[in-house]
């Protein structure tokens, strides 16, 4: 298969992102007509349409875009880090750890939008350390299959702890935490988008700076070292940044699986594995994917709304099966 040129790829992805944003703003239970939408986007028209577009749909689209993009970037970098195409923040236990950290903060009454990502970050880092410890116990060398298995175990463990915490917490906390845990892009509005962007930008910058080193790391740690990569630094930065990205997105939108798995792979299949192209391209496609998934989640059973994680899972699981076959077939 011929790979598209890098400019063609980015133009296509940008167009897709715009299309997704239009769909995200246009679709919804309120049933605004195109002319109402156009007027509201131009800051004209009636109050109700203005409110729906500017306070509900636009922040939701913006949040979905950043969350999707951030998860895809975290997944892409984790895949290079553990040298396994099946890695993503969810399967490596980062999402679960972040969820546990955030729930602990919520039931302690720390519900500030700025504190929540920090608590989630602490949880994600703790999960990462635990996964690493497990992998080391299993035999010294960091076998990527053991890392994945450890991630699944730690994720399940975090989930169990969350269930335990919720079962002994009082009704108000339970409601807050449960609603948040179910995930979704509707709750936080513009302030949530701002918090996410502030947390995500430094982490993304760190990863972009490591993208050439990630290319080397995909060869193996020893070859990467011989080619001049500072392997210890790259691994540390990548884990920190991926944990931060996961934590910020989990704090903003709950646990959403499979974006970090599906999206990087679509780019890998399409364009290859150069992380200097892969990371920004995964960001654009991840954003577009989650905005579209959310639009679907809002409209399929309208006026009822599906958690967006259901849609990403329905798309993601078959994709995972295909990847698993390709990976084990090698």
């Amino acid at each position: 298969m011929k790979r598209p040129s890098t400019p063609a790829l980015f133009v296509t992805l940008a167009a897709l992102a715009v299309l997704a944003a239009v769909a995200g703003v246009a679709l919804g239970p309120a049933g605004l007509s195109p002319s109402q939408l156009a007027a509201a986007l131009a800051r004209r028209g009636d109050e109700v349409a203005l409110g729906i577009v500017w306070s509900l749909r636009l922040p939701r689209v913006a949040l979905g875009f950043v969350v999707g993009g951030v998860l895809a970037v975290a997944g892409a970098s984790l895949q290079a880090l553990v040298r396994n195409p099946l890695a993503d923040p969810y399967l490596l236990g980062l999402s679960g750890g972040a969820g546990l950290g955030a729930v602990l903060a919520l039931v302690s009454g720390l519900i500030s939008a700025w504190v929540l990502p920090a608590a989630a970050f602490a949880g994600a880092l703790a999960a990462t350390l635990l996964v690493y410890r497990l992998a080391l116990v299993a035999g010294g060398a960091l076998d990527s299959r053991v890392l994945l298995l450890g991630g699944v175990v730690v994720g399940a463990f975090a989930g169990a702890l969350v269930a335990g915490i919720l079962s002994v917490s009082d009704a108000t906390q339970l409601r807050t935490a449960t609603l948040w845990l179910m995930g979704g892009l509707g709750g936080v509005g513009w302030p949530g988008v701002l918090v996410l962007v502030v947390y995500a930008v430094p982490a993304m910058a760190l990863l972009v700076g490591e993208s050439r080193a990630l290319n080397l790391l995909a060869l193996g740690e020893e070859p990467a070292l011989h080619l001049g990569a500072d392997v210890a630094r790259t691994k540390r930065n990548t884990y920190l940044a991926a944990s931060l990205l996961t934590a910020a997105s989990v704090a903003a939108a709950g646990i959403i699986g499979f974006v970090g798995l599906v999206v990087p792979h679509a780019i890998r299949l399409l364009k290859g594995h150069d992380h200097r192209v892969l990371l920004p391209a995964a960001f654009l496609l991840g954003g577009a994917f989650l905005v579209l998934a959310d639009a679907l989640a809002r409209t399929v059973f309208a006026p009822l709304e599906l958690p967006v994680g259901v849609v990403t899972a329905v798309v993601g699981v078959p994709f995972f099966v295909v990847l698993l076959r390709r990976w084990t077939g090698r």
Partner: protein, 296 residues
């Protein structure tokens, strides 16, 4: 992120003012001992009192039984493990004082194992050899492209540029990895078991290529190999390692002495001198009898 060498005269790209370089040694161990943390107190060090120098235009082969400390010696030379006593110098400076990317501009290493996690083409693989020159941000320029082309031609992989590396034969893949090391434009090539999985003709081809790089491009080559006979035919010097110590260092005619080999490998060996002066070894048959068992 563009790495700087350790401070001092000469700088990263022109270390020729250094004493050790003027004496010709690119990699050098002096009375070096390596003891791994966590090894129990009674055990001997992984490498003990080793002195070794590899100079430009010289092909040195490191041979010895399993567990003799060959890998430890390489790791000490490249500054991956600290020497408890003695010192390891790369281009005249403490091997551990170099930043990884600066060292990678002088020393190209073809490691024993490598399994890319994702598919890549031959050209992409060779281009990665430019990392130590480019760092994280700089875009490749004409000098980088020229270095990649030169390296691919030199290692005879120019025709394979668009192939996926997973479709290559073992011999082709090793040549690609040598091309990648050459793209680093190093002065030293270190190869760890480069022909372990190659058949006869590919093994000979690879050694001919390495020796050609040494003779015509003035590179130094340090090769770890279990294939003593091939090493004996190509290397200027064999370095025989046993139990962490150098037992002999010199031309094959000097090093491959039957009594010494029998002791080091624990197996009787006969030798035969070829017309080109190199010595070849023949392990003797020693049938296992019920009375004597396998051990002497």
């Amino acid at each position: 992120m563009s790495g700087r060498g350790p401070s001092g005269a000469g700088g990263a790209t022109n270390p020729s003012g250094d004493r050790s370089i003027s004496s010709g040694a690119l990699l050098e161990l002096t009375d070096a001992t390596v003891r791994y943390a966590g090894a129990s107190p009674g055990t001997p060090p992984a490498m003990e009192s080793v002195s070794l120098a590899v100079r430009g235009g010289e092909c040195v082969a490191l041979v010895g039984p399993n567990g003799a400390g060959k890998t430890t010696l390489l790791r000490a030379l490249l500054g991956h493990v600290p020497c408890g006593s003695g010192r390891a110098l790369a281009l005249g400076r403490d091997a551990r004082s170099w930043s990884r990317d600066t060292l990678a501009r002088f020393v190209g290493v073809v490691s024993q194992r490598e399994e890319p996690a994702f598919p890549l083409t031959v050209r992409e693989a060779v281009e990665m050899g430019r990392y130590p020159h480019l760092g994280a941000w700089r875009a490749p320029g004409s000098a980088d492209r020229a270095a990649v082309e030169r390296a691919m031609r030199r290692a005879d992989v120019a025709a394979l540029g668009e192939r996926w590396v997973e479709t290559l034969s073992g011999g082709e893949w090793q040549r690609v990895r040598i091309a990648r090391a050459l793209a680093q434009e190093p002065r030293v090539l270190v190869l760890d078991e480069p022909t372990a999985s190659l058949d006869l003709s590919h093994e000979m081809q690879l050694f001919e290529l390495i020796l050609d790089l040494v003779r015509h491009d003035g590179l130094a080559a340090l090769i770890v190999s279990h294939h003593i006979n091939v090493a004996a035919r190509f290397a200027d010097r064999l370095v025989l390692l046993a139990r962490g110590r150098i037992v002999a260092d010199g031309p094959s005619a000097v090093v491959l002495e039957p009594q010494r080999l029998a002791t080091v490998f624990g197996w009787p060996v006969a030798v035969h001198r070829l017309a080109d002066g190199s010595v070849q070894i023949y392990p003797e048959r020693r049938p296992v009898t019920p009375e004597s068992g396998a051990a002497p």
